[in-house]
Symmetry: C2
Subunit: 213 residues, 2 copies
């Protein structure tokens, strides 16, 4: 059990880089390139070729002996690994600044927002980046009618757990938590916390490293 | 050289978790707790004790023989490692939805926004979450007068490189890139790209894993 958890933890950085590989490979495909080497990808992404090889091993991509990765097949392998062939149906809860930014973020290929929810009467009925904002009181009946895969949670942190408690009463598969609250949800609901200060810590470590050179 | 890069890459997940340890430890401190064990921290954060030990090794925290980590001393060790004793002076460029959300984000202990910049006349002169918005045309003269450590870049992706080119003409130490553009900057400027789809990939891998059980 512990081995499994450790193994999975070890793969997290590779998984997090998959969308970048996907973007690069789609660029190659659009340029008509059929085969790329790990060196090509490594150069473009600022990684070592050995890291690229290890990352892509995860998705078991088709290779041409010694020649490199088949562009089309590798795109397909990443999409299969992440189940991104068809976008996940997502709803946003909490249409503040961050929530609105997420609705308009152009980087998401894996999800499709089918609705947003808020308690603010001024926001209900509006359309933000093409996504209709509904009354939070209607969430349960919405969830009963539409298939929701992912709930993107961007409420104030103080009401995050209360909101999550209501969400997991409905058939949803995952909560992507942008609040600062540490949420407790049943084991059948996948949970991912997005902590912007993680990136800040990485940046500050880089600043210090630069200084020390 | 390759060894050094590999070693540093290997530490990135530990570095990214440091702000979470910091928050937990500050909670402990506020409750009057003096010593915590790796098991305590592991339980609270949903990690294995061996991961906690490895993570905190990075900052060389003071321990009481077999008893655990000194709360005060470990807070200090993390802040020293990240240079967070005094917050970094940051400016935001691009006051859209995402930029405004970043100005109001309560999770940042390591930075202090001293100003924001935009080209939009309707935004210039306003104050967003207490941070004054200036004309982008005034950036160079602002940077010459104030010490800027970190530029948080949240412009449209299409103008990101052009903006970064102007930024690096001024004395700044780092760019935290929230756009989708892959930026090229001189080696003396630290660079961190925040890719929200990395977290989405992690979540989707978890959803798939849940399914397979």
């Amino acid at each position: 059990m512990i081995e499994t958890i450790k193994k999975r933890l070890g793969k997290v950085p590779s998984i997090r880089r998959l969308p970048l590989y996907l973007n690069r490979l789609i660029d190659y495909k659009n340029k008509g390139v059929l085969i790329v080497t790990s060196s090509d990808l490594a150069k473009e992404m600022g990684l070592l070729p050995v890291v690229v090889k290890k990352d892509l091993q995860l998705v078991d991509p088709p290779t041409k002996k010694r020649a490199g990765y088949q562009v089309d097949g590798t795109i397909d392998a990443i999409q299969t690994f992440l189940d991104w062939h068809k976008p996940y149906a997502a709803v946003l809860i909490g249409v503040g600044n961050l929530g609105s930014a997420l609705l308009g973020y152009h980087g998401f290929t894996g999800i499709n927002f089918i609705g947003a929810f808020d308690t603010d009467k001024a926001k209900i009925g509006q359309s933000i980046h093409g996504v209709p904002v509904h009354d939070w009181a209607q969430f349960a009946s919405f969830a009963a009618k539409k298939k929701i895969d992912i709930v993107v949670l961007a409420t104030p942190s103080e009401v995050a757990q209360k909101t999550a408690d209501a969400v997991v009463q409905c058939p949803v598969r995952a909560i992507w938590n942008f609040t600062r609250a540490k949420l407790h949800v049943p084991a059948h609901v996948a949970l991912q916390r997005e902590d912007l200060s993680a990136g800040l810590a990485e940046l500050c470590a880089k600043i210090k490293h630069n200084q020390q050179q």
